[in-house]
């Protein structure tokens, strides 16, 4: 039994918290279902869980913005229902849609928050210097917040919450949509504050590697707490269950990964450096991994070199969700129709880009980029925010005219035959670009007609989409009410109705939870196997492992190109251990930036 005395020592102490919302359709969603949690002062806690787990509701409740239906919640020893204002005065909160005023400058945003928090001007000067040092925003003080890149916006959002040292800092997915470099910078700031100022931080995140860096992790699923422990507690669940396996000679890692993923005995599988990392399941992981024994190796791996590796937080997390009955289901893609499986011997080039340049006035967004993509390949376009990926994408889809260079897509020169080329491509935009008020079926019908499908073919294709994206049950639901992952499926189904040869996906997994991301990639690899060429951008570097080839772009220039293994090799020399895709990416981009900086310094 906890006494009131110990409760006071906790930064957050919640008992049996409940919160239900009513959807417009009438059914009730239990966002939080008897959640209890205890968070110590001076700790960094991660709130992890799939979409709809209740993470944002939890954070808003702690901030006093949502009243619990039942249960007791004390923040800094104050009951949230009694005096939310006192809590709000003493804590800081960065919502998912961070509250920056886009038409105010960096300085003006900071000043606003400093004034609201009553920071004196001497204290302000001292603090600003410190914040500028951490965020490197000093050169942009006069710039409007709306003109900052995604990563810089997040840093400014964080800086605004830190104009004074809060007694508790709440961050709602602060690293979503942020490139690996900015993500690492954000993390440096947070870790430094926890260390230097003994700050208490509660943050929600979709990146499981981030949870690993926290003192404490709370795993939420469908409004319930699954585990509350140090990250090692979750990691240990997967001990002795994680292995790396090498595929057969000539077999791409992702096709073995797909097989593993579909196997009932395997909980999770991802490609990693040309190998496949998988987590072995078992009948029972109840009460923490130690007393349940891992199952046997599945027969599909016989004859392959399997070696055990240490578990990660993510492995334990997947195991936990699997135990809850959440595994991304095996995906059947069905015949795509006219697309024929790839003839491995004959590599037909479907996209050829030579010396591509795009200028917006004086600004060069894409600077002499060249690459080739073969039929049936998955090609990754990687780069920090503002690297020119989306611009390149738009040119490839014929949405934007190139300033110079040549672009051939599906055999058509895009400079003269955009319309014909467009018939053969499918495009899924970064934001959900379907009609929210139309039902799933109506959206599909609209897009089928827009692509010129008629009669029997139209019916067949819509039937195919509903069946293979498992949307039949939801066909009548307005698409804005679809759960996150299903929206993504619908967007992809709509882009594939006219059986395009090439599929363009712009940050398809941004903000998606690990399960949705696994399922998404399972589909993509299946399409590629049927001869669809896929071009994809992502901020999750480990997802680049699914690609046959990838390129890294920064400030419009091409920095590296090759297979994931080749790209990783470029960063090998730095220190002894095998770099991850993310390490390689950061190393390559930083190297080029330092070079550019010294070049300008020399010129000056």
């Amino acid at each position: 039994m906890k006494t009131a005395e110990t409760d006071k020592e906790l930064a957050i102490s919640g008992t049996s918290l409940c919160k239900a919302f009513r959807r417009s359709s009438g059914d009730t969603v239990h966002a939080l279902d008897h959640v209890s949690l205890a968070i110590q002062h001076g700790t960094l806690t991660a709130l992890v869980g799939p979409d709809g787990a209740g993470k944002t509701t939890m954070l808003r409740m702690v901030a006093g913005l949502i009243t619990p239906d039942a249960g007791k919640l004390a923040v800094l020893g104050i009951n949230v229902t009694d005096d939310p204002q006192q809590i709000q005065s003493r804590i800081s909160y960065m919502p998912q849609k961070f509250g920056l005023y886009e038409d105010l400058s960096v300085q003006e945003n900071l000043d606003l928050y400093a004034d609201l928090h009553g920071v004196t001007s001497e204290a302000k000067n001292l603090r600003y210097a410190q914040l500028m040092d951490m965020t490197n925003l000093a050169p942009f003080m006069g710039r409007l917040a709306g003109r900052l890149s995604g990563g810089m916006k997040q840093k400014l959002g964080l800086a605004c919450t830190l104009v004074r040292s809060p007694e508790l800092l709440l961050l709602d997915e602060p690293t979503v949509g942020v490139d690996p470099l900015s993500r690492r910078e954000l993390w440096e700031i947070i870790l430094r504050l926890v260390k230097d100022e003994n700050l208490t931080v509660l943050m929600s995140t979709a990146y499981l590697d981030e949870a690993e860096r926290c003192n404490h992790a709370v795993v939420l699923n469908q409004g319930k707490v699954l585990v509350q422990s140090p990250p090692s507690g979750v990691r240990e669940l997967a001990d002795d269950r994680v292995f790396l396996v090498a595929p057969h000679a000539g077999q791409p890692a992702r096709s073995l990964q797909a097989q593993c993923f579909d196997d009932a005995g395997i909980v999770d599988a991802v490609p990693e450096g040309g190998l496949v990392r998988f987590v072995l399941g078992s009948g029972n992981i109840n009460g923490g991994g130690s007393n349940a024994t891992p199952g046997p190796l599945p027969s599909l791996l016989s004859g392959l070199a399997v070696k055990p590796v240490p578990a990660r937080f993510e492995d334990g997390f997947m195991l936990l969700l699997h135990h809850q009955g959440d595994k991304a289901e095996p995906v059947s893609v069905g015949a795509l129709g006219k697309n024929v499986p790839v003839d491995k011997g004959h590599r037909e080039v479907v996209i050829e880009v030579t010396d591509l340049v795009k200028k917006f006035g004086l600004f060069t967004a894409v600077d002499h980029v060249s690459f080739k993509v073969c039929r049936g390949e998955i090609f990754g376009l990687l780069g920090p925010n503002g690297a020119g990926k989306t611009t390149t994408f738009r040119m490839l889809c014929g949405l934007l005219a190139a300033t110079a260079g040549s672009l051939r897509v599906a055999g058509e020169d895009l400079r003269v035959a955009r319309a014909t080329a467009r018939q053969r491509i499918g495009y899924v935009a970064q934001k959900f670009a379907l009609y929210g008020q139309l039902s799933v079926l109506e959206n599909l019908e609209f897009f089928a007609s827009a692509y010129g499908l008629r009669g029997r073919r139209k019916r067949d294709r819509i039937e195919w989409a509903l069946q293979h994206f498992e949307l039949s049950q939801l066909a009548k639901l307005p698409s804005e009410q679809l759960p996150g992952g299903y929206k993504q499926r619908l967007a992809m189904a709509a882009a594939l109705l006219h059986e395009p040869e090439i599929l363009f996906l712009d940050e398809p997994t941004s903000g998606a939870d690990p399960l949705a991301r696994r399922e998404f990639w399972r589909r993509i690899t299946a399409f590629a196997e049927q001869g669809v060429t896929v071009i994809v951008t992502t901020h999750f570097m480990e997802e680049a492992e699914y690609c046959d080839h990838a390129l890294i772009q920064d400030a419009g220039r091409l920095l590296a190109q090759g297979t994931p293994a080749e790209i990783r090799l470029l960063a090998y020399s730095r220190d002894g251990h095998r770099p991850s895709m993310e390490d390689a990416f950061i190393a390559i981009v930083e190297q080029s930036r330092t070079k550019a900086a010294t070049a300008t310094k020399d010129a000056a």
Binding site: F21, Q85, R90, L100, D103, L116, G118
Partner: protein
Amino acid sequence: MKQSSQTEYNSLSSQIRRIAALVRKESRQMLRDPSTILIGVMMPALLIFIFGFGLSLDVKNVPIALVLEHRSTEADELAAGFELSPYFHTTLLTSMPAAQQLMNERKVDGVVRIRQNFSRQLAFNNAEAEVLVHGSDANYARIVEGYAQGAVSQSLMRKRAEEMGTDIGPVIIHNQTWFNKNNDSHFFLVPGLIVLIMTLIGALLTALLMAREWEQGTLEAIFVTPVRVGEILLGKIIPYFGLGVIGLALCILAAQFLFHVPLRGSLAVLAVSSMLYLLVALGMGLLISAATKNQFLACQIAIIVSYLPAMMLSGFLFDIRSMPAAVRMITRVLPARYYNELLQTIFLAGDIWSIIIPDLIIVAGMATAFLSLARIKTKKKLG
């Protein structure tokens, strides 16, 4: 330590500091956001332009056909009266079918028909001129009809007076319009215009901007600071009140120097009533945004409950006394009605306290009601 920081947040000086920060932020946004300038400055300018110059309820140069089925001195005189009038642009015809043709093509808006027996009838003192009016626009038709009838009867009267050998006819109608001697429609359009502009700035613009903060999540972040709801609302009210006062000043200047509308009451009364009404409009705008939290919806509702009534039911375009009883009842709850009445009185009649004082009390009551409702409805809560 914690206790002291708590009192620090509650002190008046820190409250003022927070409000000042919000006002500063709002004013900067106002100056940078083209849509604010569009609604706050361009819309009033456009309204002044359209209502002031384009929409005039005075009728001039109305195209009419004058059908003279019979020529005589008397008929010609009557025709000359029409031709010389600044209100009409006449086409002389000799037969009715031709006039009908012009009417059908809407080349003329009225026909004055002088029949065969006009002179004879005139001799018997019961002369008639037929006036046909194009009725597609009833308002306009009534005005044209009135003018034409006036012109005919005047001419007949003059004629008779001459016959009697005196300068004074048997009846002389002395027509005088009080408060608006020239019957210039700007006199009542301009005060109405001020009502519209104050409503636009106060209700529509504020509802939109506050709803935008809800929608974009900026309020969510602001909420988790020492700031109070009242301070957030004041941070919105103060700058838009300022913008409204600027709009008001522009309108008064335009009224005086562009349209030469007299200001018979005092400027102070005008300013007080306008400021009170501005508070009503701001309260409505804030209430609407707190209830909808969505820009599109807020805009729709603000137009329906504030702007359209201010235009249609305030007595600005249509006289309240000629409305059906049910609609008249509705106008009683409309703040715009009282403000319009106040403005018309102050501009055209003077400081008539028996009208001004009750109206001011009602407007002040409404301002208090709307602002308090907005304060109650705006909560630091989500979902």
